[in-house]
Symmetry: C2
DNA sequence: TGCCCATTTGAATAAATATTCATTTTACTT
DNA sequence: AAGTAAAATGAATATTTATTCAAATGGGCA
């Protein structure tokens, strides 16, 4: 099981940083990284991650993470979220986001709607959000997932 | 050739109003409408229209028009455009959009970036945009394409 | 009109992706 | 630890989508 998670994380990383136009191509990259498995599993993984296939002027069609899709649909909400974000810290594999007063519910809702697999759920107070990560997912993985949801976040993080 | 255009318009209409998850399914609907042709052509048409396939909770994956995708990416620009839009009229199969002073270039650029096949190109002055439609595309088809780019437009149009 | 070139299309096929079914692995429960 | 149910996986296969290649169609233009 630890391996599946590792694979899913690798897929997200590869798809978000490269223009991948077929499962075979993606499979090749994964194998070269030492993550060796089959097209059948990859097909399932992509469906699980809700990866889309969108038109690209260069490569015809390429895979795209749903978070990116979603996010683009919400530019306003997204920048609002970035504005209210104050900090994030981790303890015992739980994340705690501090926000400006009143911002927590809307930011948490944004995360919930995107529901990356790295995050099982969130609980929001007024200026604090508790992030419950998936097992075997590192703090850094969580942050990467959050950055995909709220790109501006990248500028607000220290040196993580 | 007239038939190809008719088909492309029908595909856009069907895809934007229904959750279509395979070419076979779409083909069935087209055939029922009297537009009879083959999967090979449909595959080409979808590629030409840059139709995406995105994750859907209900049907697994469904087709989505790129205009919708694009547009959502530009919520701010889009509402700005709607705000500046004043009217549209047609003569000799050319469209003339009147805007508030200074708005024409940005609205025209928004249309150009989305470049629906119904519109070959635009020319913008300060408060006027000339729309050059594709052959065999009706005034109404042009308006439908514009509404896909700028949804708020729908409220600003009389009874077209 | 008749010729030529480009575009469009279908049938067949290739390529890509999803699913079935059997097997293995994992995680619980006792 | 053994037993059991659920989840994950691969191999084979089915399904879906893209492409090849040949034929048909549609404009220009002499």
């Amino acid at each position: 099981m630890g391996n599946r998670t590792e694979r899913l994380l690798a897929i997200k990383e590869i798809v978000s940083n490269n223009k991948i136009s077929s499962q075979e191509e993606l499979l090749g990259i994964l194998v070269r990284r030492g993550l060796s498995y089959t097209q059948a599993t990859l097909s399932r993984d992509l469906k699980f991650l809700k990866v889309n296939k969108i038109s690209d002027p260069e490569k015809g069609y390429i895979y795209e993470l749903p978070d990116q899709h979603q996010v683009h649909n919400n530019e306003i909400a997204e920048s609002y979220a970035a504005q209210g974000f104050v900090s994030i810290q981790f303890a015992h594999n739980l994340g705690v986001i501090k926000t400006l007063p009143g911002y927590a519910p809307s930011i948490a809702s944004l995360i919930d709607r995107s529901s990356p697999f790295e995050i099982i759920g969130t609980i929001a107070g007024d200026d604090t959000i508790l992030i419950i990560p998936h097992d075997n997912v590192s703090d850094k993985d969580v942050i990467n997932a959050l950055v995909l949801i709220i790109p501006e976040l990248k500028n607000k993080l220290s040196g993580k």
